[in-house]
């Protein structure tokens, strides 16, 4: 059985006017959405059902015409929907409707956990960057050194009492070797000075970060393992006042421009004149406090002009290190001490504990 064409016409005309009437009354985004679902919903939409019922029962010859009317109706629904959407969009973004999407912004943020840079690495990188800006390249050397590089070429002659101040860990069974070949754990980063000068004629500007070891009993501020940053600058006309200016600049870069430095005579076999450097106390700004033992000053590093005897050792391989023609300065500082000051660390052992609670704080 087939429906007459007029009936089909009437049905579609009624539907079209219903669409227009309903669309005109849509006042909110929600109503628009309901309208859309009502007509265009994929499973229960009226158009879906209509197409199923009409097309299923239509005769073949009618299908084309019904299809055209159907498509016209669908186009009308979509056009009306678009108009209604346009009209009601404002209400979608109204305060009232957005309020329903309110969240508690005081809930904790979701964080990706990132790993921390070790405070020693961080401090060493900071120091290296300061000296890189002054033209210093990075030099490194082995932790197991020969007596020659660690002591002899640094002007600690065999049997010299100054060796006693650096209790040395030595590799087993070295007594059978010539003294200068004996293997030990370097007690300072200074051997890299000699290794660098042997490889490279002046001018030299290197900064040497590294790990060193001494046979020291551990306490709150001493560890048998620790780190140093060493520097060496050699050229024609390098002076003691250049050493002072360089370190004064470095300390200001590290601790802030208000920090002052002062230099004291000291003694290291490989420098002469030798100096200890104090900075004005960063805790009390020089007024005197517990941390600086009321002096207003904190001792931070050792330095001096390269001893001509050290140049003489270097000149064995690089004759350009003639102490009558060139001069230079060297300095060395304990990284742990600086990191302890900067970050308020009381126990040096915490650096080597791998304690998550300690390390996390540097993330």
């Amino acid at each position: 059985m087939t429906q007459p064409a007029s009936t089909t016409d009437a049905t579609f005309a009624a539907l079209e006017s219903e669409v227009r009437r309903a669309a005109a009354q849509l006042a909110s985004a929600e109503a628009v959405e309901n309208f859309r679902l009502d007509w265009l919903g994929r499973k229960q939409g009226r158009l879906k059902r209509l197409s199923e019922s009409l097309l299923a029962s239509a005769a073949i010859e009618e299908k084309k015409q019904i299809g055209q009317r159907f498509n016209a109706l669908k186009t009308l629904v979509e056009a009306e929907l678009e108009t209604a959407l346009e009209r009601t969009r404002g209400s979608l973004w109204s305060d009232q409707s957005l309020r329903r999407e309110r969240i508690d912004v005081t809930l904790p943020g979701t964080r990706r956990q990132i790993g921390a840079e070790h405070p020693i690495t961080r401090t060493m990188n900071e120091l290296v960057a300061i000296f890189a800006a002054l033209g210093y390249s990075v030099g490194v050397g082995p932790q197991v050194e020969t007596d020659y590089y660690n002591f002899e070429s640094m002007n600690f002659p065999p049997g010299h009492p100054a060796r006693d101040t650096q209790d040395t860990l030595v590799v087993a069974g070295q007594q059978r070797r010539a003294p200068r070949d004996r293997l030990l754990l370097r007690t300072h980063t200074s051997p890299v000075q000699m290794r660098t000068m042997e490889q490279q004629p002046p001018p030299v500007r290197i900064v040497i970060p590294g790990k060193v070891h001494r046979n020291d009993a551990a306490d709150a501020t001493h560890s048998p393992v620790f780190h140093q940053v060493e520097g060496l600058c050699v050229d024609k006309g390098i002076t003691f006042s250049d050493l002072k200016g360089t370190l004064d600049h470095a300390m200001k870069a590290l601790f802030g421009s208000s920090v002052r430095t002062r230099f004291f005579p000291s003694f290291f076999p490989f420098t002469e004149p030798s100096a200890d450097v104090q900075i004005s106390c960063i805790f009390c700004v020089g007024k005197g406090c517990r941390r600086c033992k009321q002096s207003g000053w904190i001792e931070l590093l050792g330095c001096g002009m390269v001893d001509p005897a050290v140049f003489a050792f270097a000149a064995e391989k690089q004759p350009a290190y003639d102490p009558r023609l060139i001069s230079g300065f060297a300095f060395g500082m304990g990284v742990e001490r600086i990191a302890m000051m900067k970050y308020g660390i009381r126990e040096i052992g915490q650096f080597y504990s791998g304690d998550m609670r300690f390390l996390e704080q540097f993330a």
Partner: protein
């Protein structure tokens, strides 16, 4: 060392500055006053000194006073009053120096009718000044003999020794010991002497270890009436060797090892004698004073040193005051220190001098030493702060960028950097060393548990993981980028190192350890996720992805071929090889090792040979053209026989070489379920296709799918029943 300002003021009657000022001025000139303690009204202060090893001359009151005199331009009072006239002696006391290389000077003074008395009574047997100094220094007083020697030591830093004269047979001989000789020293120890030992002997036997410690037999006792006072100069090396051999370190050896003042012996002898004579007795004969000219020539009478003003300026640079270091400054500083200056006129290169050196300053030998003295006394802080000119380039250290990238990647993966111990125990070394007996033992380790240099970072990583787990910190993510050590001495064909073989060379390599335990902790509303092998592998994959590599392979070995390190779970670990080179190992800690360390939770560890990784170039991103066309994803549910692993499937897809395959990934693993036969598992793999130049058509996609299924078919992989996923 402690110094009394009262004593300094006695030596420097014209000194007017306050104790605090004196301390500051001394410190700024390298005679460091570490602490100042007020001793109460009229008693001045006690200075706690920290004097560097090269300034042994200033480790006593006279020496510090001498520095102060230089600073303020004052005159020092004489160190000792003249002794009363001596009774004549029939002959000088016999003294002979046989060891002329090691004893430069020996003075002997005979005192007779001496009364030895303990220093207990209020009016002790020694002078009120000395007694007061002892009290202020809280130095225990024992007897006038001991106190006299101590006083000379505190005053001048010159060791002296008093012998019971009546126990000396014949006279004094300073010589090397002879084989078989023995000596009971003042500490009561009977010592067998070495032929290298420097001794003071009489004509029959050894009396004392020269410059180290006196002998028991000739020591002063209450019964002593006649005394021989020794003040001498002994060679630093000879004393050091003797002291070392006998395991002794005394005030005397400390001073002689660092170089005593050749000229000080007569003055020290006079101080000791004067104090002993206060309680009665007299000197007999003149001071016997033997000197070895060769040693005098390298101590008290060293040749003068040439000094040029131009060198002073070349090395010291600019001062704050515009005149800088002037001729007059040089002359006043050096003469104040006891040097003699002879101006040199013929040089023609500006101001120059020949400078004679004071006997007490053996540390001064060269021009640079004099330049240091000028800077020191002038004041370091009077030099300007200048920056040297620089015209060069900063060279990047090879590997620095790659190391920095590794650190960055690890931190981005949420792993914290740690630094562990350089040392490990023998057990840990045996567990982790890559070759047997490769670990390097120390001669003098910090402890038995730290007897070797670590051959691997695993021991220190496990120690740090344990430190956390045992503190109930369950979630641990650590890495260490550090050095490992191996004996790399040239060896004969026989493997390993016998105990007596010499370690000639130690190889250091950069290694990376990663240690994980617990979970990626919950944060906010994100649930905790327990860490497993694949988290560790993911981190390792990301690290390797920093480098350009042709092939990256994770493989395993049969448990019976002993290739997998003993610290790893043999079935939950893998080797990483890149371009055919082993780069490291990763996996779960072997349950045996976990139990031994009382780890209750799963621990994951990896160690990578960073040195080898760094031989690869860093991967430079090469951009893939972004397609404008829609990607298409197809999911495949595959039944994979148990004998196959993911890598087989992975390789099969890769081997197809279909350029339109953009990406494939594993979405799910089902071990059991409908349609999954025994000894199979179902893998859900999604593959994304995309072409750069067109939208893919259905027939193309069907062809790709057919190719993929054909390839997996050849491996024995079937599609799971259609419709199920």
């Amino acid at each position: 060392m402690n110094i009394l300002t009262t004593w300094l003021r006695a030596l420097l009657p014209e000194l007017t500055v306050t104790d605090a000022q004196l301390g500051e001025d001394l410190t700024l000139r390298g005679i460091a006053v570490e602490g100042i303690h007020d001793l109460g009204s009229g008693n001045g202060s006690l200075f706690e000194m920290d004097i560097t090893t090269n300034r042994v001359d200033a480790m006593n009151h006279y020496g510090v006073a001498r520095e102060a005199a230089t600073i303020y331009g004052l005159t020092l009072a004489p160190g000792a009053a003249p002794l009363p006239a001596a009774h004549p002696a029939a002959a000088p006391f016999p003294v002979r120096i046989e060891a002329e290389d090691a004893c430069g000077r020996f003075t002997a003074r005979v005192l007779r009718q001496i009364k030895i008395a303990p220093t207990s009574s209020v009016n002790g047997p020694i002078s009120s000044f000395a007694s007061r100094m002892f009290t202020l220094l809280e130095q225990k007083q024992i007897s006038n003999a001991v106190d006299a020697s101590n006083f000379a030591w505190l005053a001048m830093g010159q060791p002296t020794h008093a012998f019971d004269l009546d126990k000396i047979h014949g006279g004094i001989v300073v010589r090397r010991a002879r084989k078989g000789e023995t000596l009971k020293t003042l500490d009561g120890v009977e010592r067998a002497l070495d032929p290298e030992d420097l001794i003071v002997a009489d004509h029959a036997k050894p009396l004392a270890l020269a410059g180290v410690m006196g002998g028991w037999e000739t020591m002063i006792t209450p019964a002593t009436t006649n005394v021989l006072v020794e003040a001498a100069w002994f060679d630093p090396v000879a004393v050091r060797r003797t002291a070392r051999r006998h395991g002794l370190h005394t005030d005397a050896s400390h001073r002689f090892e660092r170089g005593a003042d050749f000229a000080a012996a007569p003055l020290a002898s006079a101080i000791v004698s004067a104090l002993l004579l206060e309680n009665g007795g007299h000197c007999e004969g003149d001071l016997v004073d033997l000197q070895i000219p060769a040693i005098a020539a390298r101590t008290a009478n060293r040749p003068p040193v040439a000094l040029a003003l131009a060198q002073v300026h070349r090395l010291l640079g600019q001062t704050h005051d515009s005149e800088g270091i002037a001729t007059a400054t040089v002359e006043s500083i050096l003469s104040g220190l006891g040097c003699g200056l002879v101006p040199q006129t013929e040089s023609g290169t500006g101001e120059a001098w020949l400078v004679t050196l004071p006997s007490w300053r053996l540390d001064l030998e060269r021009e640079i030493d004099l330049i240091e003295e000028i800077a020191r006394v002038h004041g370091y802080n009077r030099f300007a702060n200048t920056l040297p000119a620089f015209s060069g380039a900063v060279a990047a250290r090879p590997g620095a960028a790659a190391e920095s990238l590794l650190r960055f990647t690890l931190r981005a993966a949420g792993v914290h950097e740690a630094i562990g111990s350089t040392f490990c125990s023998a057990d840990d070394a045996a567990l982790t060393e890559p070759q047997p007996r490769a670990a390097v033992p120390l001669e003098n380790p910090l402890s038995a548990e730290a007897g070797l240099l670590r051959p691997s970072l695993i021991p220190s990583m496990l120690a740090m993981l344990g430190g956390n787990l045992h503190r109930d910190i369950a979630d641990v993510r650590l890495f260490e980028l550090g050095t490992v050590f191996a004996d790399a001495s040239p060896r004969s064909a026989s493997a390993g190192r016998a105990a007596e073989q010499l370690i000639e060379r130690v190889e250091e390599s950069l290694s990376l350890a990663i240690g994980l335990a617990g979970s990626v902790a919950e944060d906010g509303l994100v649930a905790a996720l327990e860490l497993d092998f694949f988290h560790l592998k993911g981190i390792v994959e990301q690290l390797v992805a920093c480098f350009a590599a042709q092939s990256v392979l994770f493989d395993t070995f049969p448990s019976d071929c002993a290739l997998t390190p003993a610290w790893l779970h043999p079935f939950r670990s893998a080797r990483l090889s890149v371009n055919g080179l082993t780069l490291g190992w990763l996996g779960e800690l072997h349950p045996r090792e976990a139990a031994a360390r009382k780890f209750r939770s799963r621990v994951l560890v990896a160690e990578l040979a960073v040195d080898r990784l760094l031989t690869l170039p860093l991967r430079r991103p090469a951009l893939r053209e972004l397609s404008h066309f829609q990607p298409v994803r197809r999911d495949f549910s595959l039944l994979v026989p148990g004998r196959l692993c993911w890598a087989d499937l992975d390789r099969a897809i890769a081997a197809l070489g279909i350029p339109e395959i953009l990406d494939w990934r594993l979405r799910e693993i089902l071990a059991t379920g409908p349609g999954i036969p025994a000894d199979h598992q179902a893998l859900l793999v999604s593959i994304t296709f995309q072409a750069a130049d067109r939208t893919l058509r259905d027939d193309e996609l069907q062809a790709f799918t057919a190719a993929i299924l054909a390839a997996t078919e050849r491996l024995g992989i079937r599609l799971r029943a259609s419709g199920t996923q």
